[in-house]
């Protein structure tokens, strides 16, 4: 008897919950348009502040904070930064994205730093008309077919990086035998596959290898690299890994040199006798035109450990703040207004030509990756 009552009560509860679920309205439709008074506006930062890519997020955050301080001083505004740590994990990024959507003061999001964070947050931001501007998410699919209509990025995407590397390796380096190593993450696998396809189309012999993202020993992978191979392309997020790889190649008497991608960029950690690295934005430390900015940044942080990853996020913050300020010209602004203003961006940039967005949210004209040649640990931009 008791059991029967229990079961009946249960069924009732479940039925009620399911009916409520089916009847409940989507919240986004019911939510009123966001109006901000333009006096207390924040930028949300969506990036990995901890976890295996914490160094990337921390560098970006420090440049973003530097940019916000500079902008506020120049324009008399009072922008603030709200932190959203993704820990390089998609579910966390989604939860953080929801928090930004719910926070009425957040008028634009800077990020996501990693492409995965954009994939899980893009639709949410679109539903809330919340703009996001990334300074490092390079995956092609983020803008292909415009899946996320409020997403912008101030850097070129991998559709540029792939062909750039293919051209450089096959034309400039004249490589006939190449090995491509990916590091089993969502950044390196598609990029490696695209490069492999492109090189094969140009009749280059391509070998594929794969290492785990946290591997530190590549000596057995190196043993697989033939003596006729001249270039090993390593798509990695870890500069010390690229360094170990290039030394282990030399240790085993291979003549191949390492061509690293974005994550390998680090003058203090990746310093082969001879090698190359391509990265989505220039390192201002090597750019004589940027001396003033670097000097200012050094005063801001007291200890400058940054490389090429921060300045693009500085620019992302800068264009977002100017868009918000333009939207606020009449005293109030909606998030949709900010998105419209972002589309009209035409801003001088510290990392290249003026920033203007095309209809997909990419840089107009695509932009270009920077390739550095490294000789005895010294970096020199060659493109």
């Amino acid at each position: 008897m008791r059991k029967a009552l229990f079961v009946v009560g249960l069924a009732g509860l479940v039925a009620a919950a399911v009916v409520t679920a089916a009847v409940a309205r989507p919240a986004a439709q019911a939510a009123p348009a966001q109006i901000a008074a333009c006096t207390n506006v924040s930028l949300g930062f969506l990036g990995p502040l901890t976890g295996p890519a914490g160094f990337l997020g921390q560098e970006q955050l420090s440049w973003l904070r530097f940019g916000v301080q500079k902008y506020n001083k120049a324009e008399g505004t009072r922008f603030k930064v709200v932190l959203g740590d993704t820990q390089l994990k998609a579910p966390v990024a989604r939860t953080v994205a929801r928090r930004f959507v719910s926070d009425r003061n957040v008028m634009a999001v800077i990020g996501g730093s990693e492409s995965q964070a954009v994939r899980v947050s893009g639709k949410l931001f679109q539903a809330a008309s919340l703009a996001s501007v990334s300074g490092s998410a390079t995956a092609i699919d983020l803008t292909k077919g415009r899946p996320y209509r409020t997403f912008f990025r101030v850097i070129p995407n991998d559709a540029i990086q792939g062909p750039d590397i293919i051209n450089f390796v096959s034309r400039n380096l004249k490589a006939r035998n190449v090995v491509i190593i990916d590091s089993q993450d969502d950044y390196s696998v598609p990029l490696s596959s695209a490069i492999a396809r492109g090189l094969r189309a140009r009749n280059v012999n391509v070998g594929r290898e794969s290492v785990a993202a946290d591997d530190t020993d590549f000596s057995s992978v190196v043993a697989n690299v033939g003596s006729n191979v001249t270039v090993v392309i390593f798509a990695t997020q870890v500069a010390t890994a690229a360094n170990t790889l290039s030394n282990q190649l030399r240790e085993q008497g291979k003549r191949a040199i390492v061509f690293g991608t974005d994550g390998a960029y680090s003058p203090s950690q990746f310093k082969p006798r001879s090698g190359y690295v391509s990265v989505f934005a220039p390192d201002l430390h090597f750019d004589p035109r940027a001396r003033a900015v670097i000097r200012e940044y050094r005063r801001f942080v007291s200890k400058d450990t940054s490389g090429a990853f921060g300045p693009a996020t500085y620019m992302a913050g800068w264009v977002a703040m100017s868009a918000i300020e333009r939207a606020c010209a009449d005293g109030t602004a909606t998030r949709a207004e900010v998105v419209r203003q972002l589309r009209r961006t035409n801003s001088p940039s510290i990392i290249g030509p003026n920033i203007r967005f095309d209809a997909k949210g990419d840089l107009r004209g695509g932009g270009a990756f920077v390739i550095y040649r490294i000789t005895n640990g010294k970096y020199m931009a060659i493109r």
Binding site: L13, A22, V120
Partner: protein
Amino acid sequence: MSTGSQSPEPPRIGVDEWVASSEGRRARSVADRLQERLERTPAAAKLVALALPFAIFPLLVDSDYLKQVGIDTLIFVLLALGLNVAVGWVGLLDLGFVAFFGLGAYLYASVASEYAGRHWEAQFAVPAIATAVAAAGFLVGLPSRRLVGDYLAIVTLFFLQIWLVVLINASFTRGPNGISDIYPLKLFGREIVSLSGYYYVTFAAFVVIVSFLYLLGRSRTGRAWRAVREDELAAELMTMPVNRLKLMAFAVGAGIAGVAGALFAPAQGAVFPASFDIVLLITVYAMVVLGGAGSLFGVTVGAVVINASLEALRGPDDASWLFYGVVVLALVLLMRPRWLPVAVLGATAAFGVVVHEIAEQVRPSLVSGTTFGTASVDRLVDSWVLVPEGAVGPDGLPAGALARLAYIGLIAAILALTLIRSPLWRAIALVPVLYLTFCVWENILLAQPAVARFVLIGAMLVALMAVRPQGLFGKQRVEVV
């Protein structure tokens, strides 16, 4: 089974006399009394007490973020309930558990996503996935069933690793890219699009599963499971089919994890291999152990408390309130007599004022920094806790050897504190240690709250095992030697 210590009662059947009397002899803490009260509460009341707050939660909150946290919490509760079957009831340390969660999520992606080109309705998909994952649990259990304790743990951990390697590298799972175009849940022809909708579906799953587990736990099987946990050999001698019981536990736990996965995938809209890692595993373990392995009520509460704390500790805004609140609460609950925590806190405050004053006179840079905390409580303690200039660099890491030494010193001090036997000396030593704790919190932990919370979870697991291995609501087991 109630232990009314007020009235003499007849010896209970099935309980050793010595065990029964030992309960009376033990010093009873606040948690003990809570647990006893809980045992006397009828099951239906417990179910209502569990379900009611969940049922009205979305009506009380307006923000999408909090609703999302609510859904996450419910999914964690399901995971904790599933893990509880193997760990709490049968005593099998299953370190591969989150693989079943991942399997459920990926299976949902394979029956309802653009990538798969299908969109099964949830009323078919979820039970089918639960069955499939339970079968997978059975298969994993099959070779593991002969292994005792530790070996089982490591073999299941390896199964988790194998699962991750396959997920990341196989082409049919789209590798590390994951599957990111998962369709929403469709129930009887209606797509569920709102967060509240997802919340109630997850809630319904919770009610079904918790009731199922309640009935299962009181059934013959449930009692047999507990017998296996207490003494495998004895259970076998009583002709219980020990191997089959273990396999069943694996399968049931896995099935529940599968349901959680099947609900997680559409709620996220995407699945990635990186979502099912060791951090998740340890978090779920912390939930089960804190609430009390073996108690349905306990693990549910454990999951809610841990997930809510993790969420509050994400940013520096609410973190400090939670931290200081828990410290004060712990002092009040754990210290006797009643006036002692007040005295200790007062002494700490006095100690802090003196130290702060001396530091300001000797080296002003020791107090001129600013804390990362944004809560009002941080501003309050800023004038009292040492916040040296530049103790933490712009990257959020401790900048000098001193800051790192302070952290390591704090760990050593807390460990040393547990060695002091005399309550008086312990209370006296607590004062500087407490002050050091606050300094480290304001300077180092608050700079990276996202990491600090995992440090706290690790410490909690160790401390809990040493002090109260049965958790908040678990029943202490008395070993009869």
